[in-house]
């Protein structure tokens, strides 16, 4: 992570590494996303892999029908052979965020709910991608699809507007149904980002998510969890109510913290393992961490991927 280490906050102090709880209070998603991303982009200004559309990838032999404009004349001058310059990525791609808006996302123990965090993250990613002139789309789902904004270069405002309106209300069910339905819609290759708290069996999650990769889409899964869900830092014996099902049960946190944490860790480990098996990027996000962290992780992961290819 020399990347992260090399770039200390410089350009817009205060915008970067902002406490998500503070950002959540701003309210205006566009403002928030800009505040985060501007600083972010400035900070990454000299990153060698930034801007995929102009990235040189390799040479290949000229075949009749190739555009002569892409001929590498310098190579011809040296070797007297025709070579075509190939570039890394398509300059503009479809970028769609799939946001879980089930009731369980509406939980936050430290001033910001997972939903708000995910919303800001979505806004930031969308903003970032929009600056690259990529097409942005957005899908909100719980047990079925709630909102669908198809990817388009002009949909940035729509996405932010929809995001602004969204409220988690209904309990989420199986992810499989809405995601499988959506998988058919992403015909063109692009990047899909799934943001959810993934309260389901790891196998069921992987089963639900993998179809999204089928048409060559890059898939990134952000697993958003509140710190309380990770460390179970309750002390008093109380009744706990499930946000989705409404079930209640008495809980003595001190007595079961160890078991709970180990179960969550096992869950995360299982997800990590299974997603890496199916070549899906998986990232666990803690809502107490600044948003930049998530963005770095995303981009660093993308960069690594690109280099490998």
């Amino acid at each position: 992570m020399s990347l992260l280490g090399a770039h200390t906050p410089a350009a817009v102090p205060g915008a970067r590494f902002m406490d998500p709880a503070v950002l959540a209070r701003i309210g205006n998603l566009e403002l928030v996303s800009r505040a985060v991303c501007d600083g972010f982009i400035n900070g990454l200004h000299k990153a060698p892999y930034f801007g995929a559309s102009v990235d040189f990838a390799e040479h290949r032999g000229y075949v009749p029908g190739d555009d002569i404009r892409r001929m590498d004349w310098r190579v011809w001058a040296r070797t007297d052979r025709y070579y075509i310059k190939e570039y890394e990525a398509e300059t503009n791609m479809n970028f769609t965020v799939l946001l879980d808006v089930s009731k369980s996302m509406d939980y936050g123990s430290r001033g910001i709910t997972k939903f708000d965090y995910a919303r800001i993250l979505t806004a930031c990613l969308t903003n970032l991608v929009h600056h690259q002139r990529d097409r942005v789309g957005f899908v909100a789902f719980d047990s079925e699809v709630v909102e669908h904004v198809p990817p388009s270069a002009k949909h940035m405002d729509t996405v932010l507007h929809v995001l602004d309106r969204l409220k988690p209300g209904r309990p989420g069910g199986k992810m499989r149904e809405p995601l499988h339905k959506l998988a058919e819609h992403f015909g063109r290759r692009g990047v899909l980002v799934v943001i959810s708290d993934l309260y389901e069996d790891p196998e069921a999650i992987v089963d639900a998510v993998t179809p999204l990769r089928f048409r060559g889409n890059d898939l990134v899964v952000f697993h958003v969890l509140d710190p309380a869900e990770l460390d179970f830092g309750f002390s008093d014996a109380q009744a706990f109510e499930d946000l989705e099902s409404g079930d209640q049960m008495p809980v003595v946190p001190d007595a079961m913290r160890k078991e709970y944490v180990s179960l969550v860790t096992a869950h995360v480990d299982a997800l990590q393992r299974r997603f890496s098996e199916v070549r899906v990027d998986y990232e666990l996000l803690n809502t107490s961490q600044p948003l930049d962290h998530a963005l770095y992780k995303y981009l660093a992961g993308r960069a690594k991927r690109t280099r490998l290819r």
């Binding site: 369980s104 996302m105 939980y107 997972k114 708290d197 309260y199 509140d226 869900e229 309750f234 002390s235 008093d236 014996a237 109380q238 009744a239 706990f240 109510e241 499930d242 946000l243 989705e244 099902s245 079930d247 209640q248 049960m249 008495p250 809980v251 003595v252 001190d254 007595a255 079961m256 078991e259 709970y260 179960l263 969550v264 869950h267």
Partner: protein, 680 residues
């Protein structure tokens, strides 16, 4: 330690509040909404369900704070020895009162009482002084005001002590303790009262109060009351005569005062130390049984009988002693003119009736009265006869040596000049036949002759009509026991030498009065004869604590070198010069032996006090309150003089202040702890 306001302990119920807060209140907080219970539900259920106290430290701190505050409000103060710990200054004068009544012999109570006394001795500080007073019905100072350095002597006095046959009486012991404390110059005075606190030992006696500033620490020796305890409470003796021999049927009442029934026990009748009859004995708990033995012939004087029950936890009250002797009749000689005109009919008939005592009457004419008659007689009745000078002198000797003389006056009565034993000089007859007859007016009911008639409706002397009587000139040494309505003496008494003389100024037949026809005549004659013969029925037994005097039983005993043999075999000489009484201190038979012949003069049966066998305990605080009531007043009056006791009292009560402070400090600590915890 005691409390001034123990009612505040009700507030200890508030201790439940922290517990409830810790256990229940937390559960009732608002429900925590959690994204998903997916993992929570996977954790084994039992560890979730179990409710328990989370923070023992916090709970304990809170409870301790509450308890301390309640304790402070109850105003604890120290008594007795504990006072020393608080006050810390001032040497003590400690009087250890050790109950040695026979009820302490129940189970292991005596050993525990001794241990408690030794403990009290050990509690003496270096500057203290200690006394040991042993008490039962009386109190005895075993050691008086010994320095604490001589603990060994105190301990030895306690170890040597044994239970006696006496009953518990607290008042004498407290008085003795009071006198020891009053003599002490030490600033603090304390009485340690070690007893089984039987209810029977305290009658709310006044005057048993201790000097000012003195405290009483009761040490109750109780417990072990589950063993059966029977007591032979009383014996009744029914005399009868069978073929000229006197017999006595003994009935014994056995009381079981414990909560355990006694079954399969035995009750034996012992005569002169030999068991002659045994009856089975079953007594239910808290009740009594009566056992009657077959009659026993009274073979001779001082038949010693004992009724003995099977041994139990308290042995001393299982035996009951008594002494029976054949009835000795009172010999009465009636001196009468005899013949057909005998006036002695009513008198002799009246004396022939009755058993206790029995009178054996001999009628003699004045000239036939022999010296032998006088020697054998206890009482001589001169019934309206003229007494010659010689007879008069003989009668005077008889009276001076202890005999009794009753002189009834009539028309013939005359008394020789020069023999001055009559209570009055005889004068002329007063004739009341013409007007109203005379009545007997004023009676000296305080005198033993008329004592039985004292109560209302127990004999009406005024019903008798007296038609004639002799006027008399009263001797200054005589006492007028009855008067006629006109004021003239009717009955006079005079003490002459060892005997006494009664003078009845009318006749004892119908010639001058109709008194012999009245119901009061017979008891009057009997009482007069009893009085003259100094008859005293010897009781078949006495109780420990009563005194036996040398005249017991036999009035004519010569005391030269008399010795009393106690049941334990000790010989106690009876001093002629005054200390001729002996307090009974043991249960059994006391023998009084006269010096010259070493013959048994009398035998007295001594029994333990049956009240003592009732082991019901009383509240020692009654005694403490009564004994220190005066002390409290004294302390108050002494407060102006700046005496130390009030300071010590204040000192002993100051504990509440510390308790309250500590309780508040704990509450502060509780706040700190809970703040820290809620931050964590």
């Amino acid at each position: 330690m005691s409390f001034i306001a123990p009612l505040f302990f009700v507030a200890l119920a508030a201790l439940a509040i922290p517990v409830l807060i810790h256990l229940i209140q937390r559960e009732k907080k608002q429900i925590i909404r959690f994204p998903s219970l997916m993992f929570v539900q996977r954790v084994p259920y039992k560890s979730i369900q179990r409710r328990r106290v989370h923070n023992w430290l916090l709970l304990l701190v809170r409870m301790a704070a509450l308890a301390l505050i309640v304790l402070a409000f109850a105003r604890p103060f120290f008594l007795g020895q504990d006072l020393g710990a608080v006050a810390g200054a001032g040497a003590r004068e400690v009087v250890i009162l050790l109950d040695q009544s026979y009820s302490l012999g129940y189970a292991d109570r005596w050993e525990r009482a001794q241990a408690a006394a030794s403990e009290a001795v050990d509690g003496l500080g270096p500057a203290d002084r200690g006394s040991v007073v042993l008490f039962s019905s009386g109190a005895e100072i075993a050691l008086r005001s010994v320095a604490a350095g001589e603990r060994q002597r105190l301990r030895a006095a306690i170890d040597v002590a044994e239970t006696t046959a006496g009953a518990t009486r607290f008042a004498p012991a407290l008085k003795v303790a009071g006198s020891i404390l009053a003599d002490s110059a030490l600033p603090r005075r304390e009485v340690i009262l070690i007893s089984d606190f039987q209810r029977g030992g305290w009658r709310g006696e006044e005057g048993a109060s201790l000097p000012e500033g003195a405290t009483v620490t009761p040490v109750p020796i109780a417990g072990g009351a589950d063993a059966p305890n029977v007591a032979v409470n009383a014996v009744s003796l029914a005399r009868s005569t069978f073929s000229n021999q006197e017999r006595v049927a003994v009935s014994a009442v056995v009381v079981n005062r414990s909560a355990e029934p006694l079954a399969g026990g035995q009750l034996a009748l012992e005569i002169d130390g030999r068991s002659i009859q045994t009856e089975a004995l079953d007594v239910a708990a808290g009740s009594s049984a009566s056992v009657t033995f077959a009659p026993v012939t009274i073979a001779g004087r001082f038949l010693r009988g004992s009724v003995r029950a099977t041994p139990d936890a308290l042995d001393a009250d299982n035996v009951f002693h008594f002494v029976v002797s054949p009835v000795v009749p009172v010999q009465v000689v009636v001196v009468d003119r005899g013949g057909t005109g005998s006036a002695a009919l009513y008198l002799t008939r009246a004396l022939a009736i009755g058993d206790a005592p029995r009178f054996e009457t001999t009628v003699r004419q004045p000239d036939a009265l022999s010296d032998a008659d006088l020697r054998g007689a206890s009482v001589v009745v001169i019934n309206d006869v003229a007494v010659s000078a010689a007879l008069g002198r003989r009668l005077a000797r008889f009276v001076e040596s202890g005999g009794g003389l009753l002189v009834a006056l009539g028309p013939r009565a005359a008394w020789p000049q020069g023999v001055d034993i009559l209570p009055a000089a005889l004068r002329e007859r007063v004739d009341r036949t013409r007007d109203d007859a005379a009545r007997i007016g004023a009676l000296e009911y305080g005198h033993s002759v008329f004592e039985p008639f004292r109560a209302p409706r127990s004999g009406d002397f005024s019903a008798a009509r007296i038609y004639g009587y002799r006027a008399v000139e009263t001797d200054p040494s005589a006492q007028i026991l009855a008067r006629f309505d006109a004021g003239a003496p009717a009955l006079l008494e005079r003490q002459v030498g060892a005997g006494r003389v009664l003078l009845w100024t009318s006749t004892l037949d119908l010639s001058w009065s109709d008194l012999p026809l009245k119901p009061v005549f017979l008891p009057f004659i009997h009482q007069a004869a009893r009085q003259l013969s100094a008859y005293a029925e010897s009781p078949p037994w006495l109780t420990v604590g009563q005194v036996m005097d040398a005249s017991f039983g036999e009035s004519t005993l010569s005391l030269g070198g008399a010795v009393v043999l106690t049941p334990s075999g000790r010989q106690v000489p009876l001093d002629e010069e005054g200390a001729d009484v002996l307090e009974l201190s043991e249960s059994g038979f006391y023998e009084l032996r006269t010096g010259e012949s070493d013959s048994v003069a009398t035998v007295v049966a001594s029994n333990v006090d049956s009240v003592e066998s009732d082991l019901t305990a009383m509240d020692p605080q009654d005694i403490v309150a009564a004994a220190t009531a005066g002390a409290g007043e004294g302390a108050r009056s002494a407060a102006a003089g700046g005496a130390p006791p009030p300071e010590a009292q204040e000192q002993s009560q100051r504990l509440w202040w510390y308790l309250l402070c500590f309780g508040i400090v704990l509450l502060g600590a509780d706040t700190l702890i809970s703040n820290r915890m809620s931050k964590a």
